[in-house]
């Protein structure tokens, strides 16, 4: 800014009425010694010390991830119960809508007809029947019985498929796992029973983990498919509940074990604990919208009359600047604290 334009801008500013919550007087008072580089260095040393001490004392958490293998090994019945819903399209992922598929009418709405979710479409397409059951089973070598079952299933009419999967869903609710295999009450499951049993064995062997991660390329870094499958079951959810990580447990703020978590997310997760968000099917969209508004308000505090006058009304500043106010009262300092007539 050149000297030529400075007075003009200054004059423009000077014409505004002084608002104590928005403006500040020039400081004409005393300055004191200040070593900014020393301050930075000391702060850095302090932070390094605390960090290293905390790391030695507490280390950091590293709970092993759930795999399809660990899940199907620990709870094969739950795995089978989830697998059948992937096959018949009733799982959470199958009926999710965008970005995984285009199930109509399931997208979350912020309010009324406004659904950003639908607007952006299906970018990570997942066909649960194919991706989670049919395709992995087809990779199995030396399994003629499975391939025969697959052919039988895929060539059947949709209504016959539904008959089989419907019966299996009912049966697997009462299933048990004995001697390394699933045991269901008698029923007309058709080829679905050997398919799900094979898939369960495949999961227990670890082959399903590999099949799902490398389904598109060798060097996979995208774990969407296996993670959604795991999340549709109850195994991971139960582990999370034991760690107080569930949404209804203020889980967003928490960490595994006794570690501190993310206390700064308290306001975000709070909404999920109160009505009507506890029961709303659009809770995610609604809470996000509320947080966006509050976040904007935080950023714009200086512009919001009433909010920006809270600091002055509360008066905590009197403690912070008490040395300054004392020296003003004593008549020593002549900065912005004193009446204009006394300004030097």
């Amino acid at each position: 800014m050149s000297a030529a334009t400075q007075p003009t801008e200054a004059a423009r500013h000077r014409r505004r009425r002084f608002k104590v919550d928005r403006d500040a007087e020039e400081w004409h008072g005393p300055y004191v010694r200040y070593d900014i580089v020393k301050e930075f260095t000391l702060a850095l040393i302090v932070v390094l010390l605390i960090t290293v001490v905390a790391s030695i004392l507490f280390s950091s958490p590293d709970v092993r991830p759930v795999t399809l293998r660990s899940w199907a090994t620990a709870n094969p019945v739950d795995f089978a119960q989830t697998a059948i819903t992937e096959l018949d399209g009733t799982s959470a992922t199958a009926g999710y809508g965008p970005p995984y598929n285009s199930t109509p009418g399931v997208s979350q709405h912020i309010i009324g007809p406004i659904s950003l979710e639908s607007a952006f479409g299906v970018h990570h397409p997942i066909n649960t029947m194919k991706d989670y059951v049919i395709d992995p089973l087809e990779t199995l070598p030396n399994a003629p019985a499975v391939h025969a079952a697959l052919t039988s299933y895929t060539s059947a009419s949709p209504s016959l498929q539904q008959k089989w999967t419907g019966a299996y869903e009912k049966g697997v609710a009462k299933a048990s796992f004995t001697n390394g295999s699933l045991t269901l009450p008698p029923g007309n499951y058709g080829p679905v029973a050997p398919m799900i049993s094979s898939l369960t064995s495949m999961a227990r062997s670890g082959a399903l983990d590999g099949a799902l991660v490398s389904s598109s390329q060798f060097y996979g870094t995208d774990y969407t498919k296996p993670l959604l499958f795991i999340a549709n079951g109850t195994y991971m959810a139960n582990l999370a509940a034991a760690e107080h990580l569930q949404g209804g447990q203020w889980g967003m703020m928490n960490e595994t074990g006794s570690y501190p978590g993310q206390a700064w997310l308290w306001l975000y997760t709070m909404w999920y604990q109160i009505s009507p968000f506890t029961t709303s099917s659009n809770a995610d969209a609604q809470v996000w919208a509320i947080m966006m508004i509050l976040t904007l308000a935080l950023a714009l505090v200086p512009f919001i009359p009433g909010v920006r006058s809270i600091p002055r009304r509360v008066g905590l500043y009197r403690l912070i600047w008490r040395q300054h106010y004392r020296s003003v009262e004593a008549g020593a300092g002549t900065g912005s604290g004193g009446p204009p007539a006394a300004a030097s």
Partner: protein, 248 residues
Amino acid sequence: MSADTAVPAAPATGAPALLPEDADQWTARVRRRAVGAFPPERLLPDRQPAYVASWIYVFGVLTLTSLVVVLLSGAVLALEGPSWWHQSSVGLFVNSTHLWSVELFFFFMVVHLWGKFFMAAWRGRRRATWVTGVVAFLVSIGTAFTGYLSQQNFDSQWIGTQAKDGINATGAGAFFNVLNFGQMLMWHILLLPLVLGLFVVVHVLLVRKRGVVPPFPAKPAVVPALATEVAPVPSAAAAADEEIGEQR
């Protein structure tokens, strides 16, 4: 001092002085504006107003130095790659320093935010300082979030499968896939730190430019009728600024 056509004195390094015909160069203009806004005494002051006399003022620099430790520990983690800390006890220790420096970073930043709020630190043309601070806070939350997603353990599995619903509800899930480890890691170590760094730099430069916010007027009844400019840092350049600004 910084008139358009004036030729500044030759710098101490002995490089040739700016010739009048070069004054309209982009380089010359950028340099003039930069040095005009941030003369060395303003960038690295050795004096500060006497009212800066409270421990609350150290939380800005504590936040900044915590961020430095976060970046350093993150850099060491990057040296060995994302699976190192699961396999090596040294790696686990470095991961711990990354976690605890992040906890310290948020701790100090929130105390700094509380302090700045109760001082109404946006006063006197410091609103941009406040806004960039809040944005830095938000970007930090995003950076931490992608960090938690990059842990490749149970925690990141859970956080990803839970967070996806909120993000999908906004439509952003089409582009920002929290279950895609590769994407989340790259956002965490490159994109978000760059954005955060940018806002932190702007925030700190604004603090240097405007100076630390002065206290509220001591006697509320006796406030100036008109708003004036912000207090400059005492220096040769600033003294000249003051002279011009004093013409009421």
